[in-house]
């Protein structure tokens, strides 16, 4: 077993680390207050290739493996979560939908501008009555002449209010549903009948926006059926499998940052005449944080490695998603505890991270759904 990170990914990691420390960390408090990532920073990230890294060069991507992509999100995840919540849904969910489910013509048309960050993508599956039970979506798509007509509502769509390209999952056959009745559509901003509804007010993730998307007799040309009619659910499940690795990687990076801040604080904060780090109670919290982070990191790398080998990762991806997100919540809670009162204050990044981390157990499939996936596989396979 070789744990060496390939040289190009060490270089990639260093670049992202420097970018995080020099460009993102200094503005993260401002982003929190203004609920907006400055456009010039988005442009800079686009120029560096952040929006297309795991896709082939021929489509304008960076040709980075899943492992490389995970290392990238681990570094990016160290800063405010809004940055990875801009990139990951665009890359892991929207652009990946086109790459995994799209026709060659669609890949050639949409991937280059999406990889370049010129067109921002969103992935629209969730609906008011279909969250965990994604196969229960109600958005309908009906063929009228050479067009498809979409009607329905999508909820909590990350980047939905600013996206240029939205991958919309809709019902094309009520009887078939998950077994061939769901189809994905590439909807562009400006298609007649598509509009953005309310932008949500959330617990955290300020700077990242989720919105309701409304389709009212929205007209979609035939060539914008993603791949084939009826293949949507399969595409969505494959996309989400891969996305979970990215979510876990971001969780690891965020938790690592909290560990480092906690070590620094424990070494400098003096109570009872000595640094609080001298107390075993604090030391054990730090040790527990480090153990869980390391376990999640290794699971992330291994799942990414399996993905790169073309192996089936459904169970691994579900395990690492649930494990890493719970790890991140444990670590965030301990980080607040070690910081005491200051950890509860808005002026300090710990409080922000505590709120931002909570979503990890909910989106991209709740952790209960992950356990369902794991258990189903366990009971089928027997080990």
């Amino acid at each position: 077993m070789d744990f060496t990170i390939p040289q190009e990914y060490e270089i990639l990691r260093k670049m992202v680390h420097d970018f995080v420390v020099e460009r993102l960390d200094p503005i993260s408090q401002k982003v929190e207050e203004e609920d907006e990532i400055p456009p010039e920073i988005i442009k800079e990230m686009a120029e560096l290739g952040f929006f297309g890294l795991p896709f082939p060069e021929e489509y304008g991507g960076g040709a980075v493996s899943k492992l490389g992509y995970a290392l990238f999100l681990e570094e990016l995840g160290a800063s405010s979560a809004c940055f990875s919540n801009l990139i990951a849904p665009h890359v892991s969910l929207a652009t990946s939908s086109v790459f995994i489910g799209g026709t060659e013509a669609q890949k050639q048309k949409y991937l280059p501008p999406m990889c370049a960050g010129e067109k921002l993508g969103a992935f629209a599956l969730t609906e008011p009555n279909a969250g965990s039970d994604a196969a229960n979506i109600e958005t309908r798509a009906e063929k009228k002449g050479d067009k498809w007509i979409l009607n329905g509502t999508k909820n909590w769509i990350t980047n939905g209010s600013i996206a240029d390209v939205v991958i919309v999952y809709a019902l094309t056959d009520k009887n078939l549903r998950a077994r061939g009745g769901i189809t994905a559509f590439i909807v562009e901003k400006g298609f007649p009948g598509f509009r953005v509804g309310t932008v949500d007010v959330k617990m955290g993730l300020r700077g990242s926006h989720t919105a309701q998307l409304l389709f009212e007799n929205c007209e979609v040309p035939e060539e914008n059926v993603l791949g084939e009619v009826g293949m949507g659910f399969l595409t969505a499940m494959k996309v989400l499998d891969g996305g979970r690795i990215g979510l876990a990687a971001g969780a690891v990076g965020g938790a690592q940052r909290l560990l480092e801040l906690s070590i620094q604080w424990a070494n400098t904060r003096v109570q009872f005449g000595q640094p609080i780090a001298n107390n075993q109670a604090i030391q054990w919290m730090l040790a527990d944080m480090a153990m869980e982070i390391e376990a999640a990191r290794l699971m992330t790398y291994k799942t990414a490695w399996k993905y790169d080998q073309g192996l089936k990762i459904t169970r691994d991806a579900a395990m690492v998603k649930a494990f890493a997100s719970e790890m991140a919540c444990h670590v965030a809670d301990k980080a607040v505890q070690i910081h005491g009162g200051i950890g509860y204050m808005r002026e300090y990044p710990i409080e922000r991270a505590y709120r931002d981390t909570r979503i990890l157990k909910i989106y991209e499939g709740t952790n209960e759904i992950q356990r369902m996936i794991i258990a189903r596989d366990l009971l089928k396979v027997g080990h």
């Binding site: 190009e8 270089i11 990639l12 260093k14 420097d18 960076g62 990238f72």
Partner: protein, 262 residues
Amino acid sequence: MLNIAVCVKQVPDTEARLSVAADKTRIEEQGISFILNPYDEHAVEEAIRLKEKQGGTVTVFCLGPARAEEAIRTALAMGADKAVHLADAAFGGGDEGTAAAALEKAIAGKSFDLVLAGRLAIDDASGQVGARLAEKLGWPHVTAVTRLAVEGREAVANREIDGGSQVVAVTLPAVITAQRGLNQPRYPKIPDIMKARRKEVAKVTPADLGLSGGEVGGAGAKGKVAGLAPAPGRSAGKVIAGEPADAARKVVGLLRDEAKVI
């Protein structure tokens, strides 16, 4: 058209916690990461900018162990075209003289117009290799440059001196070493990091350069590191309370009697 050589070194990460190795002459390399020397990053950036404006090539030269390839590939990802890596174990353990001698053999006679290097490498901070290389090549050199303009066969370089700046004009070919402020090095783009894997990095041995084993590395060095010690830790400061006038008097007293600096 400018053919530019850039000398780069891989050094411990500025964020790394350094400790002295058991033999007390080297730093402990286990568990620390290495980076492209920050001053060399400025040199690489300047070379790429000159190439972008005037055309030509940028070739990276690096003397260092196998791990130094990461620094080389970083420079290639930033936009250098190809590299020469003096990676043979025999090059190890040398001093500034053997480094400059080996680099001179690698660079001389290849029709380079300009050599760029960092002002110093942050690891042993001797700041000699650029100037020694220029001497060996018989070319003019300007050190610690904060601004560089190349027109035709002339290079005009600004260098910071105490309380001002000095402008030096030299005829190419020349050696220029970079100071902070020369430019803002770019971040390598992700697709370029991946493409840099395919760029040529030639590995050369002392024999390839026409050097004997005795002329390179530890065998050829005129000096060797006899010992390495960490900087002494700072002791806790002293807070002097009281009225400003009294406190100032106490400080002066301590500076005179205790610290013996006035």
